[in-house]
Assembly symmetry: C3
Homo-oligomer: 375 residues x 3
């Protein structure tokens, strides 16, 4: 590895707190790319809906009577009121509380008081504003752009960089898993610090002793994680990836015997962090909520029959990543506190084990475009 | 009615959250027009004072020894400290706490420590800064402009649009009424959404079932309210405008027999909402407190002998508009949440029953002037 | 005194709330001059450290193994995390929690995980960023400028203006005193209002009756404080400067008999307020924390043997300035409330007793430079 690459710079401090830079990222990254909005399992039956916030937009994702899942800006076309005020639920129609304008689950304006008397009113022009949506790997992906690019082109490179083949990843069967536990964290740090934290394990030895006890490969600076197709193996005395290191939950149905003692971590840019374990999958989604605030939704996914079992208890499994999360948010927040210093005006230093941050920064800057890169 | 007029647009979303637009409105609307600051009855006796905030200005309104009511910026001419720190009360003089500069109730600088030694000091040049004031209809009106326009020209059009004659309005005798109840509400919405909400009853059927039970005319899209000189009649089984619909409070002294079963609602622009009932009057004043925050002061006014009666109990009367208020602020806040959406960047749609909003927007834009209209 | 000078203006209101003006002051005054950061006694032994915030910078001040006290930006050179997270304490090294980069007490990068493998890594280029520091009069002075000016040139004029000779001041022996009590106040006012409040005693008669009972000279408009070399004498019946006026604490060791019944007050610009009493010294430091917020740290200093005495009780001594402080912050906050008024857009009026504010404003504007003066 060349010296030049070893000691690349981080982004300058301003990239982590400047409100104008943040607005650019919301517009160009979160406003023009595919963003994960939650779990497909939440909207399986007609009428099932969830709502989600991306930047300044509040969006409702709903399963239609035709079992097609659609997404709409959650804004009445009449006077602008938020229509759907719950985070999740089931509905027959969406009726605005203000003037009772009523939309079908497919977004059509079904009716409004006195609408029959509105001579010349174009009902179709007052449908809910649709948002591009795709369902992939059990995740809901939204794209606020009027001309959305390809989801595959956005997410496939991450798979090719991490796995020997897409099939290796697909054996985890993420589309079929269900959520056994969700924890939402409020982190006082820029969203990129949260993603960057996941992209290197140089901090694992000092920060995560419990995690490294399960996965001793992470104690060294360049973890096996960096090797395409190879996961990080469990310690010999570890039965299962859990805080206690014990457990006998069966491996996910698609996996083979050789795949039941390793960890894979990678991201779907911009903000989905995936951790694959033999018996469960952890998905973090880092939602920017301000230049110096991030909401992280963490879902622990299991095979459906596992969750359906009345004896299902994910406590020991959840405990390890919940602990790691807490440790990570703490240092993300300490890092945020340094971003305004003149010591960091031109950024810090990246070491070899942090090479994945360089790729992330390059991607971010490319998405921001030339003017973003000036920051 | 022409199609063009039916489906006018609302103001664009930015008019409801942009801080620069808000600053313009504070400067040009609330800084250059007459603004209602409270009740004249509060400052009847020499020394009586109230304080009020308009935009960035804190103002004291005080009844002088000569029984003339004056208003002053509540700022010491010496070092700028706020002088009068209570919301209401009675004073002999106003003395700044910082250096004991003392002003008469008429705003003159009466004295200051060592003032006799200040060679060449111009005492008159250090009087409190006056604010234009008029008392009309029992309301205190202030105008921060150094060249205030005519209050009559500002408020009379509202009367001509709503009543057959000014006399019809004046029979309610608002100048003689007294406050039986005041409730102050904190609303997380732009002040214009609060005013607009009052200007249409298209929302009354879905939002205000209790209100419509008293005034069934409001269940239809174009209420009788729109007809000059004619109020909205009470439902046949309603004795009085109260939550229970019962009561036997006598009608206001100036009213005639034919005027005792109807409701009139209208606004004095920019921000006073008036509801006339046979036995009481409700006055809402919407004070902007930020681009997305409004303080609404709601006064329930009655004849003086009614309030003076030891058995006076306004509870049932207050309950109906307090309920309506709560319902309204809820949807105003939901509407505020949609203002930043791209779905509302160019605004929403107005239906025929909302034609009074078009007039309001036209007036607002005229007051803002050309640069305001660009928003 | 000429009329022109009597009635100088204060700074315009905007100087006390405008965020751009505030940013200028942080950059040019607090970023390019010597700023008091605390007590030298806090960092006497190797490993002793304190942390302090100046503007956007968080700084660690630490006594090295060589007993030299140094200051560093508290930011890891790797990824920018805050390194030292306590307000004060003792350390052997500074280790960043994130990746365990470890710095010596002298700021050198001692080690980092895998550092031996970083081919071509320049360890010296990754030392903590130093901040200029001087110890004077028992106070720690920091200067964030890369080319700091002379501390003596900044602080000596204040001594020459107040004392007959520097020796008169030095007899108080501030370098040898120790802190008997610290109180930190959070004041909702611009830092300059806090300093200006200390620079005049025109407010003492109306605001501080207890203080004036001890020092009756402050009841008159032009206090003896104005006279070079002469302190304000105690009232005849006062034994000691304390709330009760009683006490028999011995005078500070360097003082002579004639110096044991007087008060001296003066400032070290920009933000250190010094009060000399025969038996103790009070030091206020006003730290700007926002355009309209100031943190005031108030230290009561005594001779070391006084504090070491098990019977030491500073309560009565502390009570008088704590009371004065509370009275002062109250009017500083009232004054802040007037700054945005149009009545104060061009500022207020200064009277003869406030002539020291003119000097302060002149100095501030000189430090801000031409563009600052435009405000």
């Amino acid at each position: 590895m060349a010296t030049v690459e070893h000691f690349a710079s981080t982004l300058p401090g301003g990239a982590y707190y400047d409100p104008a830079r943040y607005a650019q990222e919301i517009a160009r990254i979160f406003g023009e790319h595919w963003v994960c909005a939650g779990r497909a399992e939440s909207v399986k039956r007609p009428g099932d809906f969830i709502t989600v916030t991306i930047g300044d937009e509040h969006i409702v994702v709903v399963c239609g009577q035709d079992r097609t899942v659609r997404a709409f800006l959650n804004v009445c076309r009449h006077r602008g009121a938020r229509i759907c005020t719950d985070g999740a639920g089931s509905a027959n129609v969406f009726q605005c509380r203000y003037h009772a304008w009523t939309y079908t689950l497919e977004g059509k304006l079904q009716g409004a008081p006195n609408i029959a008397s509105f001579a010349g009113f174009d009902r179709d022009a007052h449908a809910l504003v649709p948002v591009a949506i795709e369902m992939w790997q059990g995740l809901i992906w939204l794209n606020l752009s009027p001309m959305p690019g390809s989801l595959a082109e956005q997410v496939q490179p991450a798979l090719h960089e991490r796995f020997a083949s897409v099939e290796q990843f697909e054996r985890y069967g993420m589309s079929d898993l269900v959520t056994g536990k969700r924890i939402t964290y409020d982190v006082a740090a820029n969203w990129k610090l949260v993603v960057e934290n996941f992209l290197e394990c140089y901090h694992c030895a000092p920060m995560h002793p419990e995690f490294c006890a399960l996965l001793p490969g992470f104690r060294v600076a360049v973890p096996p994680q960096g090797m395409v197709g190879t996961g990080t193996p469990f310690a010999d005395d570890v039965e299962q990836f859990s805080l206690s290191g014990t457990g006998n939950r069966p491996r996910l149905p698609g996996l083979t015997e050789g795949e039941d003692r390793q960890y894979f971590g990678f991201i779907f840019p911009p903000n989905v962090l995936v951790s694959l374990l033999p018996d469960h999958v952890v998905v973090h989604t880092a939602h920017p909520r301000g230049p110096e605030r991030t909401e992280v939704v963490c879902d622990w996914l299991f095979a459906p029959d596992v969750v359906a079992d009345p004896a299902f208890d994910p406590g020991d499994t959840v405990a390890i990543f919940d602990l790691v999360n807490t440790q990570d948010w703490d240092v993300c927040e300490l890092t945020q506190q340094g971003m305004r210093s003149r010591a960091y005006a031109r950024g810090g230093t990246l070491v070899p084990a942090e090479h994945d941050l360089v790729s992330f920064h390059t991607l971010i800057q490319a998405w921001l475009g030339a003017s973003g890169a000036e920051q």
